[in-house]
């Protein structure tokens, strides 16, 4: 580290912490952190706030459809009854999807490590593998949405459908953008446009991809695994534990 630090300090008065990666084609920054990387972290932070708002909305409405009578209006939607979450969510199928996305995070870190070592061939393999796993996740989401539509759940059907499709749909759009980004990187590498000096560009794409997986880790638990009320909600027939949980606004 000593040699690197001294070099950079002499060049620009800034300290490279080993992650500024002076090989990104730009000079040292005043912060010592690569600008692209810093910008991506700011973007991910702000994107996290967007998902925070969407998740809060979903958590508020996740049990509302079960509480409403047919024809009642909430948030401008006239509710038309079910299907309700307990009737349609398939946790086993979604766990497999979550596993696919988790594995794609692993292939992504291997892609970043490969480009760091200058192994372009391995980089291509892992990047394409990551994009393919992202594609499998999207195919699973398409299958799930199609099943739900056949069951009668849509954006307009009830407040659960509206909040569910918006939340998971925004995440799906993020995955789609990530797949396009990774395919673009692969294509560029086949044209000879990627080398070890582009490590930061690949690392930034990797950060975005891991963020997508992080959001899905949260959504998998909050949307699919936490308990829902049954469709025909009757306060008189709720067990003690569920009554306690329902005292918390989310549930």
């Amino acid at each position: 580290m000593a040699t690197t630090t001294l070099d950079v300090q002499h060049a620009g008065g800034a300290v490279d912490h080993g992650h500024g990666h002076g090989d990104s084609g730009h000079g040292p920054t005043s912060t010592g952190i690569d600008s692209k990387k810093l910008l991506m972290w700011w973007f991910l932070g702000s994107d996290g706030v967007l998902f925070g708002a969407l998740i809060a909305t979903f958590m508020i409405y996740r049990n509302r459809a079960q509480d409403l009578s047919v024809g009642e209006t909430v948030a401008g939607l006239v509710t038309t009854g079910g299907p309700f979450p307990n009737e349609i969510l398939d946790q086993l199928f979604t766990a497999v999807s979550a596993g696919v996305l988790l594995f794609s995070s692993f292939t992504m870190v291997l892609a970043v490590a490969s480009i760091g070592r200058g192994n372009i061939k391995a980089f291509r393999v892992w990047t394409i593998a990551t994009a393919m796993l992202g594609g499998i996740f999207l195919a699973g989401q398409y299958f799930e949405y199609t099943e739900f539509f056949h069951e009668g759940l849509s954006l307009q059907q009830n407040i659960f459908g509206a909040s569910f499709f918006v939340l998971t749909g925004v995440h799906g759009l993020h995955v789609f953008a990530g797949v396009l980004w990774l395919l673009g990187l692969s294509l560029t590498s086949f044209r000879g446009g990627i080398s070890k000096k582009d490590h930061t560009n690949v690392e930034v794409a990797g950060l975005y991809w891991h963020f997508i997986d992080i959001v899905w880790i949260v959504l998998f638990t909050l949307v699919y695994l936490l308990p829902y009320r049954d469709g025909a909600h009757d306060p008189e027939h709720v067990d003690g534990a569920m009554r306690l949980v329902q005292a918390i606004p989310f549930f």
Binding site: M1, I33, I60, A75, G116, I214, I217
Partner: protein, 113 residues
């Protein structure tokens, strides 16, 4: 670039980035957690217990993913503050939304008729 410089950079990389073995171990841990989460969903009747365990698992998986796969624990500390700060704001947005809706009796404050 001197041989010593190259050697120094290689040492940096070894210190700053975990090995493939570490990534593989993290993948295994996260996969096991996901399977256990699913088992908890089907096996544990108590709603309160299920929520507590799932919330704990969620935090562990979140920290593991952010810390290791995004390299944040090996990276400049200021990046942790950037992400942590934004995460705090996200939690504040969630809390504010819930409180507002709670005071409104969970009804959206727009009169349609």
């Amino acid at each position: 670039m001197s041989a010593m410089h190259v050697e120094s950079q290689a040492e940096d990389a070894a210190h700053d980035h975990p090995s493939d073995k570490v990534y593989f171990t993290m993948l295994g841990i996260l996969a096991v957690f996901t399977v256990v989460e699913l088992l908890i969903f089907y096996a544990i009747e108590s709603v309160v217990l299920r929520i507590l365990i799932l919330a704990t698992f969620l935090v562990i998986k979140f920290v593991a993913q952010v810390g290791w796969f995004t390299h944040l624990r090996y990276d400049d500390r200021r990046l942790t503050w950037v992400f942590g700060g934004c995460f705090f704001i996200a939690l504040a947005v969630m809390a504010a939304t819930v409180v507002m809706m709670a005071f409104d009796g969970f009804h959206v404050g727009i009169q349609y008729d």
